[in-house]
């Protein structure tokens, strides 16, 4: 049975899509069958980390939600189309797929206007798991709480809540953690991103765990190297010895251990 992993944050700009891409890539490289579904239909972006643009991505989740194709038709085979980026070369031949949301403005406005059946999204995820014989399905969610994100949280075996060491994030994360507990998520982790390097990550971990009474999967340092890459590649594959990548692998291990 596949493990469903949702990556969520209460607020935008936490680095959620970047983390999802890196975590899923690490698990795909370890030999597991992995897919990512981009349910951030209002503001999709994870496809960029895999070198996709509107022309390259083909069919999208939007078309599946309008019943114009099957979910398997939308799954883009990353292992077969790694592109030129040095980090992504490690993904060659891996069983790794991305279900992208459309980046076309007309498509986005159409789905916002007409809405869609959240039940169909659920059905699509289940079909994807079976059709691709997945070990792991990662869900990149829209920040904040709405029907889709609540559904993602409700069906998840593992939930990673991403937060920055920032007062606004602390309050928002408290709301998300409360709701995740209400939805009985079996494995809940916090992931602290963009931590200032002048602070001790162990102290940050201890502080956050004390506040939320939930384990911190990793504390990732704020780094200009990541910003410099500008989502052009999978950072942890390109720079495996970087402190950020080492911390990220702790979170990947937590996900693997939780299964």
């Amino acid at each position: 049975m596949a493990v469903i992993v949702s990556i969520h944050s209460f607020r935008g700009g936490t680095g959620k899509s970047n983390l999802t891409a890196n975590l899923a890539s690490q698990i795909a490289v370890s030999g597991k069958r992995v897919a990512i579904i981009d349910t951030d239909i209002q503001s999709p972006g994870i496809h960029v980390l895999f070198g996709l643009n509107e022309e390259k991505m083909g069919r999208t989740l939007n078309e599946f939600l309008r019943s114009e194709c099957s979910i398997e038709d939308v799954a883009f085979d990353i292992g077969e189309h790694i592109g030129d980026a040095p980090g992504r070369k490690s993904l060659a031949g891996k069983a790794f797929w991305l279900v992208p949301s459309s980046i076309n403005s007309g498509e986005i406005s159409r789905i916002l206007r007409d809405g869609y059946d959240v039940g169909k999204l659920n059905e699509g995820m289940n079909r994807l798991i079976k059709g691709l014989k997945l070990d792991y399905l990662f869900i990149d969610t829209h920040p904040g709480l709405n029907e889709e994100t609540l559904l993602s949280i409700a069906i998840s075996d593992v939930l990673l809540v991403v937060m920055r060491p920032d007062q606004q994030d602390f309050q928002g994360t408290a709301v998300t953690v409360d709701i995740a507990r209400g939805l009985d998520v079996p494995n809940l982790f916090l992931l602290v991103n963009k931590a200032l390097t002048r602070y001790d990550p162990n102290q940050i971990r201890e502080h956050v765990e004390g506040i939320f009474q939930a384990p911190v999967a990793c504390v990732l340092p704020l780094t200009e190297d990541m910003a410099d890459m500008g989502s052009a590649d999978i950072f942890s594959l390109r720079y495996p010895d970087h402190p950020w990548s080492k911390s990220l692998r702790e979170a990947a291990q937590a996900v693997l251990n939780a299964a």
């Binding site: 007309g106 809405g115 959240v118 409700a154 069906i155 079996p186």
Partner: protein
């Protein structure tokens, strides 16, 4: 689940108004045992009557009566999987954003 908790669960289901499927926001407002049962069914993605009886620690007939009531209330549906009868949560929500028509006309 002991008999007292099971009887409370049955009463909670019986007193519900009928819905056409479940929204996640509804789910969060349900009493604990009902919410946990539905959470479990969602995560299992379909359960058989025997699994439900085992989860509830009740006889199959008792579990079946509760299931029938939940179907009647529009919370779950019966499906066929590999020729077996299973039950799954009926997720509902077709939503859109309340944006004035004029704005849609501009962005389309």
């Amino acid at each position: 689940m002991d008999n007292e908790a099971f009887n409370t669960l049955k009463r909670d289901v019986e007193s519900m108004t009928e819905v056409e499927g479940l929204t996640m926001t509804d789910l969060l407002t349900f009493p604990d045992d009902l919410r946990l049962l539905l959470n479990w069914m969602m995560r299992e993605n379909g359960v058989q009557i025997e699994e439900m009886a085992s989860y509830l620690a009740q006889e199959v007939n008792e579990a079946r009566m509760l299931l029938e009531k939940m179907i009647e209330k529009g919370l779950i549906e019966e499906i066929k999987k590999k020729e077996e009868e299973q039950y799954q949560v009926l997720v509902k929500s077709s939503r859109n954003y309340r944006v004035p028509k004029k704005i849609w006309q501009v962005i389309e």
